[in-house]
């Protein structure tokens, strides 16, 4: 019998936010509507809708969105009845005014994301979120780059600003189940009585479902997932698979398994074009510990400058690049092409 049997876990769908990375932030409003309705009907309690890099992410650096955050968020909010809509905000990219605009669109949860050692840049955003009555998540990205003790310290800062939930975020899909369990347990042990604890995985090493289960075993009660894994790199934790696994383990999600299978197959896959899978490049993201949304940028730079995309990603890993440093990719590809005498 599983130690987590009977536990209740809230699943947060990422398709309309992390999924943006794999389609260069080109969701149409019709797609947002169809997907939001399907997720709502399937009983998914939470969905996230913004540019892939969060509020204000639309840029040359990360790719211009087909629509504005405002348009996407408004459409999603209008399309759901029971599901709540969240917005992602990365301080340094998005700002407090962006958050206030999201609230006007009907967003009720803001997730403030920082690199896992830089939580103090989230203070003004988290404090403002709480002041205006939002539910607020502190989202520690690239959590494989700090040990459990450091993560506890950084999470503590976000909680002191007012966060009601802390996420350990495996942005690179680099973590293995034991590490996830250890880090989530450390956060749960330190703050589990005060805040919720969540896990956001990427499937670059085919570990997203196993890691999510390990997170629940470690004390997490919120898990990010996406239809057919619709997300950056090799995708997020595939939502329909996670629900099936959790059903077998006796963990309650309140989600209709058939409805999410259908949404994955009939809605998410056709939008993706090519199904999200583990390719040599996206495996390299996980293996080298690189931010998952670098994938398409590395491929494009590799093609343009005649260098190997894996070599780019591995070097980015060696240099300790963090989330948001997409501008390193073309710069590095140029350096590599120069070194090879190509330009």
């Amino acid at each position: 019998m599983s130690s987590i049997r009977g536990k209740k876990v809230k699943i947060h769908d990422m398709s309309l936010r992390d999924g943006q990375h794999s389609i260069r932030h080109q969701f149409t409003l019709e797609q947002v509507e169809t997907m939001s309705k399907a997720l709502d009907a399937a009983g998914v309690p939470l969905i996230e809708v913004t540019h892939g890099d969060g509020l204000g992410g639309s840029s040359i650096n990360y790719g211009f969105g087909l629509h504005t955050d405002k348009e996407w968020m408004t459409k999603a909010v209008q399309s759901v009845e029971n599901t709540k809509v969240s917005a992602l905000l990365l301080p340094g990219i998005g700002t407090v005014p962006d958050m206030l605009e999201a609230v006007k669109c009907g967003v009720s949860i803001v997730r403030v994301a920082t690199h896992c050692t830089e939580a103090d840049v989230s203070q003004e955003h988290i404090e403002k979120a709480k002041e205006i009555g939002l539910s607020c998540v502190g989202f520690l990205m690239m959590s494989h780059m700090a040990n459990a003790e450091k993560l506890v310290e950084e999470a503590g800062k976000m909680i002191s600003y007012g966060a009601d939930c802390i996420y350990i975020t495996d942005s690179s899909g680099h973590m293995l189940p034991d590490e996830v369990r250890e880090k989530i347990s450390a956060i749960s042990k330190a703050y589990g009585d005060k805040v919720e604890v969540g896990f956001h995985g990427h499937n670059n090493m085919s570990m997203a479902v196993a890691n999510s289960v390990a997170a629940i075993e470690g004390g997490a009660n919120r898990i990010d997932a996406a239809l057919a894994g619709f997300g950056a790199g090799s995708g997020n934790c595939p939502l329909e698979v996670l629900v099936a696994v959790l059903n077998l383990m006796g963990v309650e999600t309140g989600i209709d398994i058939h409805a999410v299978q259908d949404a994955a197959e009939d809605i998410a896959l056709p939008i993706m074009g090519k199904p999200t899978r583990i390719s040599r490049d996206s495996l390299t993201l996980g293996y080298a510990g690189v931010y998952s949304s670098f994938l398409l940028f590395a491929r494009r730079a590799a093609e343009k400058y005649g260098v190997d995309s894996r070599a780019i990603l591995e070097e980015l890993g060696r240099r300790g690049t963090v989330g948001g440093q997409e501008d390193m990719i073309e710069d590095l590809a140029l350096d590599m092409a120069k070194a090879k005498g190509l330009i």
Binding site: I60, N61, G92, H115, E118, D120, V121, M145, V322, G324
Partner: protein, 296 residues
């Protein structure tokens, strides 16, 4: 040569780094340092260099402005207190170099608009942000060739070089820099992004400048303009390097730069802090020359 006496307000990293730059200046004399913590390293260093100091804030030295002939102030404290300090010094006709994000005076990016501010005899100029100093000249280098529809900059700095002031007010960086990309850079729209990277050893400040030109970019003219601008910046920041670019991709023009600081008080990787203090020092020197000219 006669030097202009200056007061450094703030005895933290920026104020102390400024002190070393001013000590080398041929026209500026760092006479006073103002702090609020008597035991601060900055005030200690200032005393070691024979400067007058007070830990009572600006009020601790106001009585000496006239007798010590202090003509230029550098404010390296915080945005909230800057307007109050400025009001107090303005009465004595002191010129203010504002290194806080308060920006009550016009933005000053030396190779772009310093001359204009000197001619207008501005009492207070604001040094924008570190990322702004490193990138706005490049936006302007492109905008001076042809119309720039959109300018975007990404500043990546070592975590260790981002103090608590930057961290708690990170929106100020993005908002002020975006504004100055338009007002000083000359782009029609601006966007700024800042990334903190904790890698060890700390990474050198790096900045990316992306512009979208309205019409097809004039590659040769832009390359020339960018090279000239880099030379102008290197006059006060010798470690300013255009690593790659300008790269042309349709109407996108991208430039990748690295900023190595002089390593005066702050380590060399903290090019972000160095470019602020260097730009403020350079600007103050030009203002001082003008003051000396008037006296003569």
């Amino acid at each position: 040569m006669k030097k202009i006496n200056c007061v450094l307000i703030g005895s933290g990293n920026i104020g102390t780094d400024l002190m070393y730059k001013l000590l080398r200046s041929e026209v500026l004399n760092p006479l006073w340092m103002v702090g609020i913590v008597e035991s601060s390293d900055g005030l200690k260093k200032a005393r070691e260099h024979g400067m007058k100091t007070t830990h009572l804030g600006i009020d601790g030295m106001l009585d000496f402005i006239e007798e010590d002939e202090v003509k230029i102030a550098f404010d390296a404290t915080a945005a909230q207190v800057h307007p109050i300090t400025n009001d107090k010094l303005k009465k004595y006709g002191v010129k203010m170099m504002d290194l806080t994000p308060a920006a009550i005076g016009p933005y000053c990016v030396p190779p772009v608009n310093l001359q204009k501010h000197i001619e207008a005899d501005e009492q207070n100029v604001n040094m924008v942000t570190c990322g702004g100093q490193a990138t706005i000249p490049m936006v302007n280098a492109i905008a001076s060739v042809q119309e720039v529809e959109y300018g975007e900059i990404i500043a990546t700095i070592a975590s260790k070089s981002a103090g608590p002031g930057t961290r708690i007010n990170i929106d100020e960086f993005t908002e002020t820099t975006s504004d100055a990309i338009v007002k000083v850079g000359g782009a029609k729209k601006g966007k700024a992004i800042i990334i903190l990277n904790p890698a060890e050893p700390p990474l050198m400040m790096r900045d990316t400048i992306h512009c979208l030109t309205t019409n097809t970019p004039d590659q040769e003219a832009i390359k020339k303009s960018v090279a000239q601008m880099a030379d102008k910046i290197r006059k006060y920041v010798p470690g300013y390097k255009v690593k790659n670019g300008p790269i042309f991709d349709g109407n996108r023009v991208s430039i990748y730069v690295e900023v190595e600081g002089l390593g005066d008080y702050l380590p060399k990787y903290a090019g972000n802090l160095d470019i602020m203090t260097a730009a403020a020092t350079y600007s103050a020197e030009k203002i001082a020359l003008k003051l000396l000219e008037k006296d003569a």
